[in-house]
Symmetry: C2
Subunit: 140 residues, 2 copies
């Protein structure tokens, strides 16, 4: 199974049906296309980021803190290649099934969702697979 992009006009028509919030954003979540289908991360997309993602098949978010497009992996190399994109029932969120190169989380873990609630409070479900220095260089 691999992603086949619509043409530009079809993408534009489709984007007109998406319900971006008052800041022009929708929630985007990335899930591994392969078993065990772990949820990797949650981020945001504006219309331009979603358009680029759907046209290229390479996942591009919108960084609220940096106020610009965030081509996942542009600094770290940890890219996400789209396998399937699915809007939800009210079209204000998008699920991205992806092939993840390396790790998704900036902490070096495969998934960002690693703080598990246990009777004692929180415990980490996973340890980092790589260091931030390996991901971003020592200047980061």
């Amino acid at each position: 199974m691999s992603y086949l992009p619509p043409d530009q006009q079809t993408i534009d028509t489709l984007l007109d049906t998406v319900r971006f919030n008052e800041d022009g954003l929708i929630t985007a979540l990335a899930q591994a296309a392969e078993a065990p289908h772990d949820v990797l991360m949650l981020a945001w997309m504006n219309r331009e980021a979603l358009a680029e993602t759907l046209a290229t098949g390479q996942v591009c978010y919108y960084s609220r803190s940096r106020d610009r497009l965030w081509r996942k992996g542009e600094s770290s190399g940890q890219r996400q290649t789209l396998v399937s994109a699915r809007l939800d029932c009210d079209r204000d969120a998008v699920l991205l099934l992806v092939n993840q190169t390396g790790v998704a989380c900036h902490t070096g873990r495969r998934s960002c969702f690693y703080h598990e609630v246990v009777p004692e409070g929180l415990r980490d479900t996973t340890a980092p697979e790589v260091t931030p220095e390996q991901l971003y260089g020592s200047a980061h």
Copy 2:
């Protein structure tokens, strides 16, 4: 694997570390605890909803449209029983691994994420398993 709740004091301490947004909310996403681990829905929680979910093991969201707690399944019977709750790296989103009774989506589908992007535009990945009338009664 089943969810074991922390005591109330531990939950309070944990909630103090969660980064609710300016509206007092975090994003919550529900994923099936059992294979194929489909992402079921995305919704919101305020502190009270997350506290109740973590204390009871029954998923409770916050409905922005109705401005009140939304105990999933209270109208439809389609409850979500918590198996594991995981905050993400920056603690502004929570992943809920759940056992879903019936369907998660108000359209009668198992998952809300059924509008798949294909070359022709959007197509439904699944059909409803039950009708809204079956879920909510004919008065809905």
